[in-house]
Symmetry: C2
Subunit: 173 residues, 2 copies
């Protein structure tokens, strides 16, 4: 099946929002999705975009059973390693279930790597869930490695009331 | 001991580079540091900065035994959650050993949280090494939580020859 990988535009955010929810359902955490396609448009396509998109698209005759031609996406942003310098962080890589096994995920990942290479980025980082063996196997087959298993890195977060408390509480400075 | 937390400038990169190496030694990975203060200056203080700095500074009479007044730093950049929107990623938080236990790390973390709050960020992400119990305890005491332990997230990476291969190899698209 032919497909194309192209940069995402503001007009893609409705489809990306749909696929973000599909991915969250796949990851068993749909209640976690709090942003709409309008927020995606604002945050990704203002003067200071917070992320960039790649879209995987098929022709109309190959559209999904629900009529979609945008069938996968990658969402990434520039990051920085204090050891290696410029880097890229891939927040999401997703292909709709009925379009898997056709090289679309691999092509999206390759294009993300190319974007990084062109910008002089030394590494590409992302996360994967430990129960998601299919994704872990895929990433390992593409030359990616697991910092948590191999080096003991843990992902940490502060959010919600705790983040507000941290920002607003009395400090020593 | 009095200290101040302020935004980092290009002129701080020599000290930040020194402290990046100190942190890498503490993390038992000094051979991993590949960038110089010159690259930090270029990457952090161009028209499109890849990161931002906060510097913890003490007065001259409280300088370190080696004569340093810049005794801690935080390196962070804006990131994005496809579930929650705008976010902040803290790459490093460091305080020189002889200045620990004085609230400097807490003040740096608080300032990072404030920067995020002011920019409308919904979460603050970072990593910690599993053997670094002192840091893990500190972050937990500040309301941060562990995505790896609680939800099974693993940190993944592609770099070096594998990243070049991924970007340059033949794909299906």
């Amino acid at each position: 099946m032919d497909f194309t990988i192209r940069e995402g535009q503001a007009g893609d955010c409705t489809d990306v929002s749909r696929m973000i929810m599909e991915l969250a359902v796949y990851e068993k955490l749909p209640e976690q999705v709090k942003i709409s396609h309008k927020e995606l448009e604002q945050d990704g396509f203002s003067d200071h975009p917070f992320f960039k998109l790649l879209i995987a698209e098929v022709s109309d005759e190959n559209k999904s059973k629900d009529g979609h031609t945008k069938v996968g996406y990658a969402l990434y942003f520039y990051s920085y390693s204090s050891w290696k310098g410029k880097a890229l962080y891939m927040e999401d890589l997703y292909v709709m279930p009925e379009f898997r096994g056709k090289g679309i995920g691999k092509a999206l990942l390759k294009r993300v790597a190319q974007v990084g290479q062109e910008a002089g980025c030394a590494q590409l980082d992302f996360t994967v869930l430990d129960w998601n063996k299919a994704s872990r196997d895929f990433y390992h087959s593409q030359g990616c490695w697991d910092l948590t298993t191999r080096m003991g890195y843990h992902c940490m977060r502060c959010n919600g009331a705790e983040l507000r408390c941290l920002a607003g509480g009395e400090g020593e400075n």
